[in-house]
């Protein structure tokens, strides 16, 4: 038996800044994870449908437009509504410090702001992956 961690990386909303999301996707691949890359301009509905079909363990959302307080929680809400309670959601992008506690309350478990070393993201996945092993 060989368990692989699967991670969905996507950008909800309308901004097209995908340099960070692509970097994360590629770096996570190099760290040995299976990354489903959905790219820019995705709706929360499409992200959640994809997460469920792909049976991912983590969903990583990137957003630089300022709409994170609306779109990130919506992804978590739809995941839970559709019974995907075990999927862990994290986010990143241009997100002001004072929004982080609100996003965490809404079920986004970690927020990685600009300048975060990729190792921090990998540590987050490694420390939380036990919870999603099934």
């Amino acid at each position: 038996m060989s368990r692989k961690i699967r991670i969905l990386i996507s950008k909800p909303g309308l901004d097209g800044h995908d340099r960070g999301a692509k970097y994360i996707a590629r770096a996570l691949k190099d760290a040995g994870y299976e990354v489903i890359y959905m790219g820019i301009r995705q709706s929360p509905e499409a992200i959640v449908k994809t997460a469920i079909q792909e049976d991912v363990d983590f969903v990583g959302l990137s957003l630089l437009s300022g709409a994170h307080n609306e779109l990130f929680p919506e992804v978590v809400r739809l995941l839970r509504e559709q019974g995907a309670n075990d999927v862990i959601v994290f986010g990143g992008g241009v997100i002001p410090q004072e929004d982080i506690s609100f996003l965490k309350e809404q079920g986004i478990e970690a927020i990685f702001t600009p300048g975060t070393p990729i190792q921090k993201v990998i540590e987050f996945i490694e420390t939380n992956k036990e919870r999603v092993l099934h």
Binding site: A25, V94, P96, Q97, P114, I118
Partner: protein
């Protein structure tokens, strides 16, 4: 003359010690002007944190004005002319650019190269390498991987008033009610027909549609219907 526009590099902005970005933008502005740019966009210091505040935007504009009116670099056409080092770098850039252009040409042109994902791949590889260099400390970014501070003071960040969305959609509803909808429809239909004919210049038709109070969304939807939507070839 080669006319070109320059924008300072968004990827060089840091969220850490954001006032340092003013200095980065200044250096890049100076470089662009010394290079002879005809048009310039300067980024604001806080764009790695959120949408820029009014103050930040003003500083970005003032940066251009200081370079233009105070520095003196605009007093002569090409202040760096004759500098051995600059000329050498320019030659190198030219050489590398020619290599790229030739390569793209053999692929069947730029459109083909984009469809193949070649261009995106080159950009992503460069971005990946750049980021890896920062993470390994091979490339110094002041305030990020060197000369950092423990506790940064809170920054003022622009908050978009959520009420604006409502205001805007009300405005839009009003516009749609009050405009001459027949005229709008006709202008959009003309645009649609123009889009079907490759020999037609669409710009005047787009202007007509805008003058008939068609919204940006409506104009784009017509073009989306006719041309479809671009989907990037993802190569990671």
């Amino acid at each position: 003359m080669l006319r070109f526009h320059t924008q300072t590099g968004g990827s060089t902005l840091t969220a850490q010690q954001p006032d340092n970005n003013i200095v980065r933008v200044t250096i890049q502005t100076l470089a662009a002007v010394l290079g002879g740019t005809q048009s310039l966009h300067t980024n604001s210091r806080d764009e790695a944190l959120g949408l820029p505040t009014e103050d930040s935007v003003r500083i970005a504009l003032r940066t251009q004005q200081i370079v233009a009116y105070e520095s003196g670099v605009t007093n002569t056409v090409d202040p760096l002319a004759g500098s051995y080092f600059i000329e050498n770098l320019t030659d190198k850039i030219e050489e590398e650019v020619s290599k790229y252009l030739n390569k793209i040409e053999t692929m069947g042109g730029m459109v083909q190269a984009i469809e193949n994902g070649y261009v995106q791949k080159e950009i992503q590889d460069a971005a990946y390498k750049y980021q890896q260099e920062i993470e390994k400390g091979d490339r110094v970014v002041v305030g990020v991987n060197k000369f950092t501070v423990e506790q940064e003071k809170p920054k003022e960040i622009l908050r978009v008033n959520p009420r604006l969305r409502k205001v805007q959609s009300e405005k839009l509803m009003k516009l749609r009610k009050n405009r001459n909808n027949r005229e709008t429809e006709e202008a959009l239909q003309a645009l649609r027909e123009g889009a079907r004919d490759e020999s037609v210049n669409l710009m005047p038709l787009i202007l007509d549609a805008a003058k008939a109070y068609a919204t940006l969304g409506e104009i784009c939807n017509v073009l989306r219907d006719e041309f479809g939507e671009y989907r990037e070839s993802i190569v990671l």
